[in-house]
């Protein structure tokens, strides 16, 4: 009886829509509206533009260094996703199948990385990269995202593998598969649900990250989307049209990705954390 749609549910539904429009609709409207306004049209951001200023988008795209930022962001995100999946899946295999003291200890060693908050070692890490001559290149980003991603993703894979029966891989080996082959052609495909979760979380996390590129690419020739957007505020002091056009350009790919896979993405965020 509590699951019937009554007049109260109707009121609740209206209130929720009111919140959605006020809290999310208004910023979204302003974002699009201001991005389409010529910079010489002053006045309220609510007023519709007298002329659609598509040039805001070309200004942002060209002057904001967005093509390069896009290429770097996509390259780094995709490379990190692949490396994290390969390394974490491989590491989880012996951790879940071998029940010796050393493997239990190794598992604890990895999980400790989840408990210690990230950021503790950021200055020694920065100096390490400086001494290795890697500042201003994308290598620190790749190494840091991959290494930092190990604890959580190894945990997810290990939990999943421990619940996965050994019969499949045993059968593959009896049929003559080598351990490498048995892992990649039998075990790895079976882990697809976890792989999907990890891919989604890593892709969005790396694509959106601001702090790591700020430290390692700040002031260099390379830039990522969040870092390029940050530089807008110094380039166009109050040119909100160009800034918002840049934000839209950077947000559209991730929003399209989100809306087309929303069920999986939301489940990934919720499930990945319950893991």
């Amino acid at each position: 009886m509590l699951n019937r749609y009554t007049w109260r549910t109707g009121v609740l539904e209206s209130v929720l829509w009111l919140i959605a429009v006020l809290v999310f609709g208004i910023p979204l409207y302003l974002l699009v509206n201001v991005a389409l306004k010529p910079s010489n049209e002053r006045g309220s951001g609510f007023a519709l533009p007298e002329r659609i200023a598509w040039e805001n988008f070309s200004t942002a795209w060209v002057d904001g260094n967005l093509p390069q930022a896009f290429a770097t962001s996509v390259l780094v995100s995709v490379a990190v996703v692949i490396l994290v999946i390969v390394l974490a899946a491989m590491a989880a295999y012996p951790l879940s199948r071998i029940t010796r003291t050393w493997s239990t200890a190794a598992f604890a060693y990895f999980v400790a990385g989840i408990i210690v908050p990230g950021g503790l070692g950021m200055i020694p890490l920065y100096l390490l990269m400086r001494d290795a001559g890697l500042l201003g290149t994308i290598w620190p980003l790749l190494i840091i995202y991959v290494g930092g991603g190990m604890p959580f993703n190894i945990l997810l894979y290990t939990i999943f593998l421990r619940a996965l029966p050994r019969e499949y891989e045993d059968a593959a080996r009896i049929d003559g598969a080598r351990p490498m082959q048995a892992f990649w052609s039998v075990v790895f495909p079976l882990m697809r649900p976890v792989t999907g979760t990890i891919a989604v979380l890593q892709l969005i996390g790396v694509y959106n990250d601001f702090f790591t590129p700020l430290l390692y690419l700040g002031g260099s020739d390379y830039t990522t989307l969040p870092l390029a957007l940050k530089d807008f505020s110094s380039q166009y002091f109050t040119d909100w049209g160009a800034i918002f056009a840049g934000l839209i350009i950077a947000m559209v790919p991730v929003l399209v990705f989100y809306l087309s896979l929303q069920k999986h993405i939301i489940r990934g965020f919720a499930g990945g954390l319950k893991g």
Binding site: A20, I26, P94, N208, L229, A270
Partner: protein
């Protein structure tokens, strides 16, 4: 595998009917390659373990980040950090921001989850909408709210429109409100995340239990507090830990909107570590601040787990 003769196979099959399965023999072919974990181990050790240990050691030395030599100086760095003009106010700002974000985000996230766990028809659309800011970069969120909060910005225009001009503020400049304005912006971005975790928790709550309480005459508040809340305990703990540890580390939104200013009124340990540690190159000060922040996160997390465990028993 050795080839069994047909007779042996039949015998083995018959034997299997009665006898419990014999313990499986691990022949050499069934070995799991231990070296699979080496690449992960190496990169994790270099990027996480070594720098973390170095930070904890360097915080107790006079190391300057440039040379290899250093001496141990005990707690001198910590004393100096708290004597520095901005560290204490940054610590207080960090705590206030974290408390505000955690309390508001937990309440908002829970209310949204409870509302969307009803037969509301558009619950899927609304869930997607409320979660959407979570997938955006916090740089974009920072810009959008910097625009909204400007003295002649959208928020003040709306207050004018509805006749609440008395409530107008310079939201990011006025020290009496700017920290709360930043807290609101952070909640705006992340409440959908808290909501989704609560929704996952609510799916595990047996509807029959709530129906039974309803039949026994329990009102909606009683049903929530005595039936739903205890069953939601794991989700509450996860959300509390995530809100607190995330709140203590908020950096991007502050960097884009105020850079910790004006006059350090929105400065936190995270922004101070960046501006005084990295930008000015005072590495030992920065390391000390990150050790303080880490201790804070660890202590709070442990306390949260303790409190939750005690309640469950």
């Amino acid at each position: 595998m050795t080839q069994l003769s047909a007779d042996q196979q039949i015998v083995a099959r018959l034997a299997r009917v009665d006898a419990p399965p014999a313990p499986r023999r691990r022949s050499k072919a069934l070995q799991v390659p231990w070296w699979f974990l080496v690449p992960a181990l190496v990169v994790y050790t270099i990027v996480v373990v070594v720098p973390d240990v170095q930070a904890m050691v360097f915080a107790f030395t006079d190391w300057d980040g440039l040379t290899d030599s250093f001496d141990f100086v005990g707690f001198d760095n910590f004393v100096a950090a708290f004597k520095s003009p901005h560290a204490l106010s940054s610590l207080i700002n960090t705590l206030m921001l974290t408390i505000a974000v955690t309390v508001v985000q937990m309440v908002v996230g829970l209310l949204l989850a409870l509302a969307l766990n009803t037969p509301v028809r558009s619950r899927n659309v609304l869930r997607v909408a409320f979660f959407a800011p979570v997938v955006l970069t916090s740089v974009a969120v920072g810009y959008i709210w910097k625009y909204m909060y400007a003295p002649t910005g959208a928020l003040n225009q709306m207050l004018d429109l509805v006749g609440l001009a008395a409530l107008k503020h310079d939201w990011l400049g006025d020290p009496s409100v700017n920290l709360w304005a930043i807290a609101f912006m952070c909640v705006w971005q992340s409440a959908g995340f808290t909501m989704v975790i609560f929704l996952a928790g609510l799916q595990g709550v047996d509807v029959d239990l709530i129906e039974a309480a309803h039949l026994d005459g329990a009102g909606s508040w009683t049903r929530f507090w005595y039936v739903v809340r205890p069953l939601l305990a794991p989700a509450i703990l996860i959300n509390a830990v995530l809100c607190v540890s995330g709140g203590l580390k908020i950096f991007d939104q502050i960097y884009i909107t105020t850079q910790g200013g004006p006059a350090h009124t929105t400065s936190t340990l995270a922004t101070l570590t960046y501006t005084d540690g990295f930008v000015t190159g005072d590495y030992s000060f920065g390391v000390t601040l990150s050790v303080i922040l880490t201790l804070l996160v660890s202590v709070v997390t442990v306390v949260q787990f303790r409190l939750m465990n005690r309640r469950e028993h």
